[in-house]
C-alpha cells in the first residue's frame, strides 16, 4: 500500500509539469498582457514594470524561472493585485473555500446518501418518486438561482442569517453558502446512491445472503452498504477537489474571499502567476483526492488489490 502510494505520488509529478507547461504557454499565447490597461502608460514605465516582473525576458527563461520558484514553494507575485503574492492570495482564500466545500460535501453525503439509499430500498414507492423528483429539481436548479433565493428568504425577509461576508469560525456565515453549494451535490449523491443500492440489491451475493435467511437489516448493513459506496467514492474524489478550490457563483453572490473567482477573473486579467498558481493547486488536489479514492476502493471492495 505504501509503495503504491509513493509510486502514484511520484507519477503525479510529470502530470503536474504538463499542467504547468500548458497553462504557461496558453496564457502567454493569449492576446494582451497583464499590464495593458484602458489608459496607456509611458513606454519607459511599461518597460520598468515588465522588467520588474521579468516579462522582458525570453519565454523559456521565464518558464525556467517560474519552475525554479515553484520548486521553492513560491508561486510569484500577482500581476493584477500588485504588492500581493499568489501565495498570500491562496493562503487567505483556500481555507474559506475548503471550509465551505467540506461542509457542503459532508451535507451532500449525509443527506443525499440517506435519501438515496432509502429511495433505492423502497424502489417504486411514493417515497422513491417524491425524493427523486426533488433530486432532479436540485440538480437542474443552478446555484445562481438558489443562492439569491436563500439570501432573500433567510437574510432579507427573516433576518435569521447574514446575507454574505465571511467571519472565520462563524457558523451563521457558513450556513447559507454551504447549503447553496451542497444542494446540487446532495441531489446528485441521492440519485447515485439510489441507482447503486438497486444494483447491489440485485446482485448474486445479496441473493445468497437472503437465501441463507439473514434478516433484511443485517443484509443491508453487513453486505450491501459497502459495495453501494463504490460509485460515491469515485464521484467524491474530483468533487472534493472541485469544491475546496471554490465556486465562483457562491463566492460572488455571498461576497466571500475565496479563490474560485480567480479561475475566471485572473485569466481575463492575464494575471499569469495567479492563473498558473491556482491551476497547479487544483491539479495537485485532483491527483491527491483521486489517489485517496483509489485507496478507499481497497477498503470498500475486497476484490480490489493495490500493487
Amino acid at each position: 500500500m505504501l509503495r503504491y502510494t509513493l509510486r502514484r505520488l511520484l507519477g503525479a509529478l510529470p502530470t503536474l509539469l504538463v499542467i504547468i507547461t500548458l497553462a504557461f504557454l496558453l496564457l502567454h499565447m493569449a492576446p494582451g498582457g497583464p499590464f495593458d490597461g484602458a489608459k496607456r502608460m509611458l513606454p519607459q514605465i511599461q518597460k520598468s514594470i515588465e522588467a520588474k516582473y521579468h516579462l522582458d525576458e525570453p519565454l523559456w527563461r521565464q518558464y525556467l524561472r517560474y519552475l525554479g520558484d515553484l520548486a521553492r514553494g513560491d508561486l510569484g507575485p500577482s500581476f493584477q493585485y500588485r504588492s500581493t503574492s499568489v501565495n498570500e492570495i491562496i493562503a487567505q482564500g483556500l481555507p474559506v473555500d475548503a471550509t465551505i466545500g467540506v461542509t457542503a460535501i459532508a451535507l451532500a453525503v449525509v443527506v443525499g446518501g440517506a435519501v438515496g439509499i432509502n429511495a433505492g430500498l423502497r424502489r417504486g414507492t411514493r417515497w422513491d418518486y417524491g425524493t427523486m423528483g426533488f433530486a432532479v429539481a436540485g440538480i437542474s436548479t443552478p446555484v445562481f438561482v438558489v443562492a439569491p433565493l436563500l439570501i432573500l428568504v433567510f437574510a432579507i425577509k427573516l433576518h435569521w442569517l447574514p446575507a454574505g461576508d465571511w467571519v472565520q469560525g462563524s457558523l451563521s456565515h457558513l450556513l447559507l453558502p454551504a447549503i447553496a453549494l451542497a444542494l446540487p451535490y446532495t441531489a446528485y449523491v441521492a440519485r447515485l446512491m439510489r441507482g447503486s443500492t438497486i444494483e447491489v440489491l440485485n446482485s448474486g451475493f445479496i441473493r445468497t445472503a437472503r437465501a441463507k435467511g439473514l434478516p433484511p437489516l443485517l443484509i443491508i448493513w453487513r453486505h450491501a452498504l459497502r459495495p453501494t459506496l463504490t460509485p460515491l467514492v469515485s464521484f467524491l474524489g474530483p468533487a472534493i477537489a472541485g469544491v475546496v478550490t471554490g465556486s465562483i457563483v457562491v463566492e460572488t453572490v455571498f461576497g466571500l474571499p475565496g479563490i474560485g473567482r480567480y479561475f475566471i477573473t485572473a485569466a481575463l486579467n492575464r494575471d499569469y502567476t495567479l492563473v498558473i498558481g491556482i491551476t497547479v493547486l487544483y491539479g495537485a488536489l485532483i491527483i491527491l483526492f483521486n489517489l485517496l479514492a483509489d485507496l478507499c476502493y481497497a477498503w470498500i471492495d475486497p476484490r480490489v488489490r493495490l500493487r
Partner: protein, 553 residues
C-alpha cells in the same frame, strides 16, 4: 406577511433571478404602497460604523500604484494630498492649508499645516512630498499613472528615463513650505493634487518593507482613517486616525468596505441592512429598486462619456465624412437612453459631459426634429455612397461588460437599420483582446469610453491629440492640436474653456467619434447616512459622513 411584503418579495425574487436580464418597468408601476419607512432621528447614532459596498478588490493600496476607482475610494480615506476634495467633490485645502501662485501661473508655493502628522505620530513635512512625487515619476516605481503629473516641470522626461528624479520641479523650501514649478499654467492643479497618485507615502515604510509596505501591519498613512484589515476579495476595514489634523471633526469610528463584485449582491446586502452605502446598482434594476426603497436610490451626473469610436485610418470610415456624420446623426439618443438604460444615463451629443462654466458645444443637428434629423442622416448616407442595395456592413466591437451594455449596442444597431438600412452587428471580445486590437488600430467601429481624472476639459480633449496613446480613432487635425496647445499656455480659465469649446466644435465638424450617453453615478444610500453630496467626480470621503439614530420598521 403583509400584502406589500409578499409583493415585494416576489418582485425581488424576479429581480434577483433576472440578474443580468431586465425587469419590465410596467411590473413596477405606481400603485405599490410606499416603501417600509425608516424613522431617522436627529442625534448621532451611538455606533458610528459605516459599511460601504465596493465594486471590486482594489488592485493595490499603494496610492502611486493604484489605478482603479475602487482603490481611489479607499485611498481617499487613508491618505490626504496637498489638497483634498470637500463634501461637494471640489478641491479644498488638505495637508496644505494655503498656497499662492506666481503671475505666470507656473510656480506655486504650498504652505503645509504644521500639525499634519503621519499615523505613527511622525511629522509630515514638505520633504515627504518631494520624496513621494519623485517616487511617482521614477520609472523604477512602475506607476502606471506617472503621466498624470505631466504638468510638473520635467515629470515626463524623468518618467521616460531621460532625466534623474531630482530634476522634478518640486522643492522643499523648509519643513512646511513646498514649491512646485510647472511646465505651463495649470488652472486645474488643485484638482490634480487631490488625486491618489499625488498622495504622500512614508519613506521609511516603503524602504523597509518594499512592496509589502501597504499591509495593515506596516502601512503608515496620513488620512482621516488607518488600515486595520485587508482581506483580498472580501473586506477592507479602516479605523479612525486620531492623529489626523482634523480628527475632531471626523465622526465615523470605523469604515468597512465590503467587496461585492456583483451589483445584485450589493443590492441584496443593502436590503438586508448589512451596508449603508453601495458603489453601484444594476442599471436595469433601477425601477424595481425605486419601487421598493424610493429615494434611497441615488443617481446623478458623473464625469464620463460612453461612446463608439470610429477608425479614421481605415475603410469604411477613412475619408468618408458623410458616412460618419450619417451614423452620428441618425441615432435616437433620447429613447435609447430612456428605454435601454432605464433613464439612468443622459443622452450625449458632445465629448465633454456637462461641467459648470463650460458651454457644451451642442451640435445644430441635435436640435432638429426626429423626422428632419432622420432625413438629414439618410441624405448623408446616400452621399457617402451607400443604399439599400449596397448597405454599410460593419461590426460594433465591444467587450463583455454586462448584458445591459450589449443590449444597448444591439439597440443602436437596430436603430441604424431602421433609419438608414445598415447591416451592423455586435461582436463581443475579451477586454484585453479589445485593448490590444485598439492599440493596433485593427477595429473599425468599437466600444469606447472616457472618465475624466479631474474636473477640467483637458482630461477629455487630450485623448484626441495627434499621437496620444488613448487616441484609438487615430484622429489627427493640426488645428485641433493648436487649440489644445494654446489652451495649455492660457492662464485665464474663461479663455481656456473657450479654446476647448472651439476644439470640441472641430471634433463634431470632423465627425471624429460617436457620443452615446453621459455616465451617471449609481448609489443606494440609507436615509440616516448623512454628510455626503452627489458630485460629478463621484468622490465621497467617509471623513465627512456620519450616522443618525434610526429605527427600521
Amino acid at each position: 406577511m403583509s400584502a406589500f411584503r409578499a409583493r415585494a418579495a416576489w418582485a425581488s425574487i424576479a429581480c434577483l433571478l433576472a440578474g443580468c436580464g431586465s425587469v419590465d418597468p410596467s411590473t413596477t408601476a405606481p400603485g405599490l404602497p410606499p416603501p417600509p419607512s425608516i424613522i431617522v432621528g436627529t442625534t448621532l447614532a451611538v455606533d458610528q460604523t459605516l459599511s460601504r459596498a465596493l465594486d471590486d478588490t482594489p488592485r493595490s493600496l499603494d496610492p502611486h500604484i493604484s489605478t482603479d476607482v475602487q482603490g481611489q475610494r479607499v485611498l481617499d480615506d487613508l491618505f490626504e494630498g496637498l489638497t483634498t476634495v470637500d463634501v461637494a467633490g471640489k478641491a479644498a485645502a488638505g495637508v496644505a492649508s494655503s498656497w499662492e501662485t506666481s503671475a505666470d501661473g507656473k510656480t506655486w508655493v504650498f504652505h503645509l499645516r504644521p500639525d499634519a502628522r503621519w499615523s505613527n505620530g511622525a511629522p509630515l513635512t514638505a520633504r515627504d512630498f518631494v520624496y513621494s512625487l519623485r517616487r511617482v515619476v521614477d520609472p523604477k516605481t512602475g506607476a502606471e499613472y506617472a503621466q498624470g503629473l505631466a504638468a510638473i516641470d520635467n515629470a515626463v522626461a524623468i518618467a521616460s528615463g531621460e532625466k534623474p528624479t531630482d530634476a522634478l520641479g518640486v522643492e522643499a523650501v523648509d519643513d512646511h513650505t513646498l514649491k512646485v514649478r510647472l511646465s505651463g499654467p495649470t488652472p486645474y492643479l488643485l484638482d490634480l493634487l487631490s488625486q491618489q497618485y499625488t498622495y504622500p507615502v512614508y519613506e521609511p515604510a516603503v524602504t523597509q518593507y518594499g512592496d509589502g509596505w501597504v499591509r495593515p501591519e506596516h502601512i503608515v498613512s496620513n488620512g482621516a482613517f488607518v488600515l486595520r484589515e485587508n482581506v483580498i476579495g472580501s473586506r477592507i476595514t479602516l479605523e479612525k486616525n486620531d492623529r489626523y489634523w482634523d480628527a475632531a471633526h471626523v465622526q465615523l469610528q470605523r469604515v468597512v468596505y465590503y467587496i461585492l463584485v456583483d451589483a445584485s449582491a450589493q443590492a441584496s446586502r443593502f436590503l438586508a441592512g448589512d451596508v449603508q452605502w453601495t458603489d453601484s446598482f444594476a442599471a436595469n434594476q433601477r425601477s424595481w429598486l425605486r419601487s421598493v426603497i424610493g429615494d434611497q436610490v441615488v443617481n446623478s451626473p458623473y464625469f464620463g462619456t460612453f461612446m463608439l469610436g470610429m477608425n479614421l485610418q481605415q475603410p469604411p470610415f477613412k475619408d468618408n465624412l458623410p458616412l460618419r456624420q450619417a451614423l452620428i446623426i441618425a441615432l435616437d439618443r433620447e429613447p435609447l437612453a430612456r428605454y435601454m438604460r432605464e433613464g439612468v444615463y443622459q443622452p450625449a451629443y458632445t465629448l465633454m459631459p456637462p461641467l459648470p462654466g463650460y458651454q457644451l458645444p451642442v451640435p445644430d443637428w441635435a436640435t432638429l426634429s426626429t423626422e428632419a434629423r432622420h432625413a438629414l442622416a439618410r441624405r448623408l448616407y446616400a452621399q457617402a455612397g451607400y443604399s439599400d442595395h449596397h448597405p454599410l456592413r460593419v461590426d460594433i466591437d465591444e467587450t463583455m461588460l454586462d448584458a445591459g451594455t450589449r443590449h444597448f449596442f444591439d439597440a443602436v444597431a437596430a436603430n441604424w437599420r431602421s433609419v438608414l438600412g445598415t447591416e451592423v452587428h455586435t461582436d463581443e471580445r475579451e477586454f484585453k483582446v479589445l485593448l490590444q486590437d485598439l492599440q493596433l488600430h485593427k477595429l473599425a467601429l468599437f466600444h469606447d469610453a472616457w472618465i475624466g481624472d479631474y474636473p477640467d476639459p483637458y482630461t477629455f480633449m487630450q485623448i484626441f491629440y495627434t499621437g496620444n496613446g488613448n487616441n484609438h480613432c487615430g484622429y489627427s487635425n493640426p488645428k485641433f492640436d493648436q487649440l489644445i496647445d494654446a489652451a495649455g499656455q492660457e492662464p485665464d480659465n474663461g479663455r481656456r474653456y473657450h479654446l476647448f469649446e472651439q476644439a470640441e466644435q472641430l471634433l463634431d465638424n470632423d465627425a471624429a467619434f460617436l457620443p452615446l450617453y453621459y455616465y451617471a453615478t449609481r448609489h443606494l444610500v440609507k436615509p440616516y447616512l448623512r454628510g455626503w453630496q452627489s458630485n460629478i467626480m463621484d468622490r465621497n470621503l467617509s471623513r465627512y459622513m456620519y450616522l443618525l439614530e434610526h429605527q427600521e420598521r
